[in-house]
């Protein structure tokens, strides 16, 4: 029982990060039908920039804000320099562009920073909190709380604000959105910026636990993608549930089967989802009009 709870805690922590990555996927996918495989790089940048700003003497909260803003700017640049000029190209080409961008960002990070593993101190110390015989790090609570806060924030943004609704309208029908006066180009820019900021935020939260180096983005992108697929691509609720579920599945596999197989879980999940329910847990049922 203690062990189960312990696995659950670590599963939820990792799962919350996957959920944040999956939420990033969701926003860009909704606005443009593109799966942005540079999403993991945003997480890495969030961690790396914070580390180096902090080491340079910037206070941690400020370093985190700088990292999030710089990463958001990189997200906007990715849209402006790589995606927008290729508008009209098939979605598959755009996805391949994002893979290229992720390789570029990784390489540039290696040059600008270095290849070492880094961390900065946890926000509220490293003393584990005991709960019913299991322990949880205070930083884990930050990660889980951060994921929930982002989810609620996005929910309010999409349901309560005109701008949020404009993003949904663009996702639903780009031409119709333009017809009612929505600047869909700006919506794309906003989506990339927002998505990058959320990725960087995840990186800031998780670095004290998992450490960061230039190459952590690839695995995160794949796990986040698996989480988004599991929950149903394009659905924010699916991203949250899919992420937490995937994290728990991984932790249980590592705990009860073997940590050797932990990494395989995400891929088994992708395969299982594609075979059994291609639309994911919360995916919309599609009906073709004839």
């Amino acid at each position: 029982m203690d062990a189960l709870l312990q696995f659950l805690f670590s599963g939820l922590t990792v799962g919350a990060v996957y959920a944040l990555v999956a939420l990033g996927f969701t926003i860009i996918y909704n606005a443009s039908d593109v799966v942005n495989f540079a999403q993991g790089e945003f997480v890495m940048l969030g961690g790396m920039i914070t580390v180096f700003a902090f080491d340079a003497g910037v206070p941690l909260p400020l370093a985190a804000v700088v990292a999030i803003l710089v990463t958001a700017a990189i997200g906007v640049a990715l849209n402006k320099l790589a995606i927008e000029p290729a508008r009209g190209a098939p979605v598959v080409s755009l996805i391949i562009i994002t893979i290229g961008a992720s390789i570029l960002i990784r390489g540039a990070t290696q040059l600008v920073f270095d290849k070492q593993l880094h961390r900065f101190p946890a926000f509220s110390g490293d003393d584990p909190i005991r709960v019913l015989g299991a322990t949880i790090l205070p930083q884990s609570l930050w990660v889980i709380g951060g994921a929930l806060a982002v989810f609620v924030g996005l929910w309010v943004f999409f349901t309560r604000t005109l701008t949020g609704k404009a993003v949904l309208a663009t996702a639903n029908n780009r031409i119709a959105a333009q017809l009612v006066g929505i600047n869909t180009g700006w919506i794309m820019t906003l989506s990339f910026g927002l998505s990058a900021a959320i990725g960087a935020f995840a990186g800031v939260l998780v670095t004290p636990i998992t450490l960061v180096s230039y190459d952590v983005g690839v695995a995160l992108a794949l796990k986040g993608f698996a989480a988004a697929m599991l929950g149903g691509m394009g659905n924010p609720k699916g991203a949250l549930v899919g992420g937490l579920l995937l994290g728990c599945l991984e932790a249980m596999t590592a705990g009860y089967v073997s940590s050797q197989y932990k990494e395989a879980v995400a891929f088994i999940v992708i395969l299982a989802v594609l075979f059994v329910m291609p639309r994911g847990l919360f995916g919309a049922k599609t009906t073709e009009r004839v």
């Binding site: 309010v156 604000t161 031409i175 017809l179 006066g181 180009g185």
Partner: protein, 261 residues
């Protein structure tokens, strides 16, 4: 003074001149129809005027301002709105939400005011909601307000698209085959609606295949064939024009007789 002025408009796709040197003008409250055989370039012409395609040649001006190549969302602000032959509806939203989306521009305000749900924002949202309900009543869809748009019939979606376009309070409305796929009753409703709109001062530019409808309601007709304007004028003149009859009406003598009668 014309509201919409199209001068020498043309576009080519590869080596094909889809539209070549088309000019005409639309005045406020006027109903101008563009007719022509299938593939004559009517929808392409619409797509250039409404900013979906960038014209290769010529210019479009709205109220004296050059708007050639201005994107659709800017044209929406300037009072030009349109519907599509093949429907551009938010399929997954409710009927009401589709029309509410048309209030996007008049509802504009800061994100923070929205988040804090300030009274001004709430009043505006309530106004938009009331307006949307009224528009739905006008196109006789008020009983379907809460249905998902994707579940409506084709004819109903045509009217929904018009309602959404009207929510923008356009000065000129481009309607691409509003009566296509509608039954006789629905066609008559659209007929009345268009007449009502033009009476209220909105200029209408219409593409329509239903010749009876076109001849009855148009003030002015532009005839396209193979991308070029072959005639224009009042319905009675155009329907007697030999070039038009040869290109288009010649094969449908009964229709022409109807139109004349």
């Amino acid at each position: 003074m014309s509201l919409l002025q199209v001068s020498g408009l043309g576009i080519s796709f590869g080596g094909v001149k889809a539209v070549e040197d088309v000019s005409f003008a639309v005045a406020p409250g006027e109903i101008v129809s563009v007719i022509g055989p299938n593939g004559a370039g009517k929808t392409t012409l619409f797509n250039m005027i409404s900013g979906i395609y960038l014209p290769g040649r010529g210019s479009v001006s709205l109220d004296g301002t050059d708007v050639t190549g201005v994107p659709p969302h800017r044209l929406a602000e300037m009072g030009l709105s349109r519907t599509f032959q093949n429907l551009q509806i938010f399929q997954e939203m409710t009927v009401l939400d589709n029309v509410l989306a048309g209030y996007h521009l008049s509802e504009r305000g800061s994100v923070w005011a929205d988040l804090l749900s300030l009274p001004g924002m709430r009043r505006r949202a309530a106004r938009a909601r009331a307006g949307a309900h009224q528009l739905l009543k006008r196109v006789r869809l008020d009983d379907k307000a809460d249905q998902i748009a994707g579940n409506l019939s084709y004819g109903a979606l045509k009217r929904l698209e018009i309602a959404r376009a009207l929510a923008l309070e356009p000065r000129i409305l481009l309607l691409d085959e509003p009566a296509a796929g509608c039954n006789a009753v629905e066609t008559e409703e659209i007929d009345h609606l268009i007449a009502e709109l033009s009476a209220s001062g909105i200029a209408i530019l219409l593409v329509e295949h239903d010749m009876k409808l076109v001849m009855r309601i148009s003030n002015h007709i532009v005839v396209l064939d193979h991308g070029e304007k072959i005639a224009e004028g009042e319905p009675s003149t155009v329907s007697r024009d030999p070039a038009v009859i040869a290109a288009y009406l010649g094969t449908q003598e009964e229709e022409q007789a109807d139109a004349d009668g």
